[in-house]
């Protein structure tokens, strides 16, 4: 239940952050996505023993943190939640990679260096994508996906689904709360009953979804005539060019 509540809070917080007036919020989502993708590709392409360039690229992440609405503590919380899979795999690097690397006159096992750069890459790529999304309204993200020629059908589905997620997360929290509070004697968990709850939840969701969709139609939502807003201003282009130039310089110089 905590996960569902956390996720709901997280999504609500993102909606609020996107409405704020931080510098990164002003930039066109199309430009932000291009910058993020180029940054991620350049970060991943850094050699696993190259600490210097990995660290240099972190400077761009720090710059974005400074101009984005998301707090550093929120970013750190996210790392804690997402990092186990990455850590599980890179923790073996020092065990299997015994090559010797020279750093500032010191000899060090390559495995330690590659584990460190991988974690750094993980921090950089995750932070940049989260910062970009947290500073962008949902409708604008959908518009920019259309700009990148993603199928219209997929984007509308994505938009409708996103709206439904809020409703269903509330429902699932209620259902789980009910499951928790009705167990007077704290007996064993019953999968049989859980299956029934999940399935009933789905049926309820279908009916509820139809209601919501009809409401959207009543407010003038039309799939065929739905227009995506993707205006790019000169200031956006300036931000994009400066960012890309900086990222290329720190990656290749």
């Amino acid at each position: 239940m905590k996960t569902a509540q956390d996720r709901l809070q997280h999504l609500t917080a993102f909606e609020e952050l996107a409405e704020s007036d931080f510098p990164l919020n002003m930039v066109s989502p199309v430009v932000k996505i291009i910058v993020a993708v180029v940054f991620i590709i350049l970060t991943i392409s850094v050699n696993k023993y190259d600490i210097i360039h990995s660290l240099l690229l972190t400077s761009f992440t720090c710059f974005l943190i400074a101009i984005a609405p998301l707090k550093v503590t929120s970013v750190l919380k996210m790392f804690l939640y997402l990092s186990p899979f990455v850590l599980l795999l890179v923790i073996f690097n020092p065990v299997y990679d015994k090559s010797i690397i020279h750093i500032a006159g010191y000899q060090i096992y390559g495995g330690y260096v590659s584990a460190f750069t991988t974690v750094l890459k993980f921090i950089n790529t995750t932070t940049v994508s989260v910062l970009i999304v947290s500073s962008t309204k949902f409708n604008h993200i959908a518009s920019s996906l259309r700009f990148f020629k993603m199928p219209k059908f997929l984007i509308i589905q994505f938009m409708v689904m996103y709206r439904f997620i809020f409703i269903f997360l509330y429902d699932i929290i209620q259902s789980l709360q009910a499951v928790k509070s009705r167990g007077f004697q704290g007996g064993r968990f019953s999968w049989r009953n859980m299956k029934a709850i999940i399935s009933a939840f789905f049926v309820k969701s279908v009916l509820r979804g139809e209601e919501v969709y009809n409401s959207m139609l009543s407010r003038g939502f039309e799939i065929k005539n739905f227009k995506f807003d993707d205006k790019v201003k000169m200031s956006d282009i300036f931000f994009g060019l400066c960012s890309l130039l900086y990222v290329f310089i720190v990656r290749f110089v």
Partner: protein, 319 residues
């Protein structure tokens, strides 16, 4: 099971972006042709939100101290059909990547392939005909189990090929499959339970508009490819048991140079000249890449040979 950007190399990430992008275009065009958008989109939205919400329910994995959650790709395929299921799962993964950083942007292609493409286009066609015929719970369970397991295999392969993690592929695969064994069992149980229960409300017939039999050839082909690639990665570079025994008995480091031995060497050099993938690797290259590609190429050749043989037998039988 979501891949992170940091575990991937750029070529692997871009390749899977390409595959997933083509699949998304194909699924959209198929769906546009077959279905009424006005009816389908809200249903797909509901199904996506349902799977997203279900993924919030974590269950403890006995004796490991960790927890897992439902993935839902195969259930979506059962409920919506393969094209809609692929798009719905893709949009769930898109929301997770964008809003929760659960799987990176570069890794999104890999995640769509592992969690949406495999259940919808590889596993679902394998089991659809059986499930339609007698609603076999075993088939539904197996489909859900196999979807998640093949996904775990693909995660290991993508990480292994990227070369970021130093953990040897065989160990990484065992680790991933071990972790996902119980998760897959629960995935199967939840899928069977949910599907059976939802069917009582007759919603499934409304949602899944795919009627008639599906040809499972692509599924069989893909599963064979994955198995071949995995098995070949385990292929040892050391001589096989028979060769090793012969050398030990002869007490020599190299093969004997008798007349038979010379004839053997002659055939060996001829084989070296005509074999395009000697010793399951690229000529002059002993890296794992070559071994893996050799496995895939071998599987493709075997599939072509077997199909040709079947075709010849069928023709002969007709005559």
């Amino acid at each position: 099971m979501h891949m992170a950007d940091a575990l991937l190399s750029v070529p692997v990430g871009m390749t899977f972006w390409g595959i997933s992008g083509v699949a998304a275009g194909y699924a959209s065009s198929k769906l546009k042709k077959d279905l009424d958008e006005e009816k389908t989109i809200p249903l797909m939205g509901v199904a996506g939100a349902f799977v997203f919400a279900l993924q919030m329910v974590n269950f403890a994995i006995p004796a490991t101290g960790s927890s897992g959650h439902f993935a839902g790709g195969f259930l979506l395929a059962l409920l919506l059909g393969r094209h809609a299921a692929f798009l719905v799962m893709s949009s769930v993964l898109l929301v997770q990547a964008l809003f929760f950083a659960d799987g990176g942007l570069l890794a999104l292609g890999c995640n769509i392939f592992n969690l949406a493409f495999i259940p919808s286009y590889v596993v679902y066609p394998l089991f659809k005909n059986i499930i339609d015929k007698n609603e076999s719970k075993t088939a539904i369970w197996s489909g859900a189990f196999l979807s998640l397991w093949l996904g775990a295999v693909m995660v290991s392969m993508q990480t292994g090929i990227s070369g970021v993690a130093e953990l040897p592929f065989s160990k990484m695969l065992l680790l991933m499959l071990g972790i996902h064994l119980l998760i897959s069992v629960f995935e199967g149980i939840i899928t069977v339970g949910s599907y059976m229960f939802i069917k009582r409300y007759s919603l499934q017939t409304e949602l899944n508009s795919e009627k008639g039999k599906l040809k499972p050839y692509f599924g069989i082909f893909s599963v064979s490819l994955i198995i071949a690639a995995v098995v070949s990665l385990f292929a040892s570079s050391k001589p096989d048991g028979l060769e090793w025994s012969v050398y030990s008995i002869m007490g020599r480091a190299s093969e004997p140079t008798s007349l038979t031995g010379q004839f053997h060497n002659l055939l060996g050099s001829l084989q070296d000249k005509i074999a395009f993938l000697p010793d399951y690797s690229f000529a002059g290259d002993s890296e794992q890449w070559g071994t893996s590609v050799s496995g895939i190429a071998g599987a493709v050749i075997v599939i072509i040979l077997a199909s040709s043989l079947g075709y010849i037998i069928r023709k002969a039988n007709k005559n």
